[in-house]
Symmetry: C2
Subunit: 227 residues, 2 copies
């Protein structure tokens, strides 16, 4: 659920066409800045389960030439959606079915798994920020019309916080910083090595995976703060 800047960039490009109303542009701006004014000191949490982003080339191989994903549910970040379609991912020790595809398509296929999934699949997947795929993990992706053997592209997502530059100023951080976040509650604690991803196309949200959420007692209603 990353690379919103890329996706929003494309959307803005699309919106620059002649048929776009001011309302649509206002809606995008509203989504991009949602959550920035709710609470001055805390940050909402977005919890990701394992998922996959596909290139159009790989989508064609898995679902058939020229296949278009069917949006099922909008995600919090503008233009991103969970699709109706899912795939199976397979490693040497096991497979995981019903892995949700997130749309729209990207330039490269990327699989984001949980650490626990790597044991089940029998693969190694490095802890990485989205898009940093060099020498990352390998799986075979299986769809209804074919399969794709990924030489690389499987990562465990490094926890990170999307924010606008104005949020970064407010929190005293900058794009690329690594921070520690503080979580309250009966399973509370602190998580180190959280990357700041600040640009003018991202709504304020701290992205963690389901294992991190469960271990620290977090859910989609949790708000965290930077230490």
């Amino acid at each position: 659920m990353e690379d919103y800047e890329e996706i929003l960039g494309k959307l803005v490009e699309k919106l620059s066409g002649p048929n776009v109303s001011e309302d649509v542009i206002a809606e995008v701006a509203k989504k991009a800045t949602a959550n920035t004014t709710t609470d001055e000191k805390t940050i909402p949490v977005g919890v990701s389960n394992r998922h996959i982003h596909l290139s159009q080339t790989d989508l064609d191989k898995l679902f058939g030439k020229g296949y278009q994903l069917t949006p099922l549910k909008d995600l919090s970040q503008p233009s991103q959606y969970a699709s109706k379609e899912t795939v199976i991912i397979c490693g040497p020790k096991g497979s995981i079915s019903k892995v949700r595809i997130l749309g729209p398509v990207r330039s490269r296929t990327q699989v984001e798994v949980l650490r626990g999934d790597t044991f089940k699949l029998g693969i190694k997947a490095p802890l990485r920020i989205s898009g940093d795929l060099l020498n990352s993990g390998q799986v075979t992706v299986v769809g209804p019309k074919g399969s794709v053997e990924l030489e690389e592209g499987v990562i465990v997502a490094q926890r990170h916080i999307h924010m606008l530059p104005s949020d970064a100023d407010r929190f005293g951080v900058k794009n690329g910083d690594i921070v520690t976040i503080v979580i309250e509650g009966d399973r509370g604690g602190e998580l180190n090595n959280v990357a700041i991803r600040a640009n003018d196309k991202s709504g304020l949200e701290c992205h963690i995976d389901t294992e991190e959420a469960n271990a620290l007692g977090m859910n989609s209603k949790t708000r965290i703060r930077i230490k």
Copy 2:
């Protein structure tokens, strides 16, 4: 994987019989004090997946009258073992198969699930220390010879540290204290609300579940420290 004191208590009781050699007693003592001298400042980690402890009554219902568990692998704490046998646990929304039974049998049946399992099963299970089962979660347990509907007994285990009183002195804590632990590494951080369980029958070990281990980048070789 808790209540070692209870289990060891029973074992010691058993060992007090006329046929017990000094060697056996020495072995128990050795296991109980293992890990206490490896490193003065750090504590080894024991990672638990979901599992179940059964009463003999429930074991009878699930596997047949008078059934005895088959030890498969010794656990780190004296007399505890993972058994060959597994069960299925079922909630209103789903089931989980191959849930390992830990032996020996206990006075009450207790199911320790991951937080993620509670969503899959569609149940609520409180965060509790082992044995504290009043108004805890409900599941149906299914075995090859029958099933048991548990009115209560399902918990998410509160993270805790077993230690000897001498360890407690060394770390400056006492039985019942709540501490924060510090975890190093690229997924490092701190976990609050870790219970100290100090008595003279427990080897030094910090018990967490697989979601906590994965979220913080821990495994069975990790050593943590008390903050």
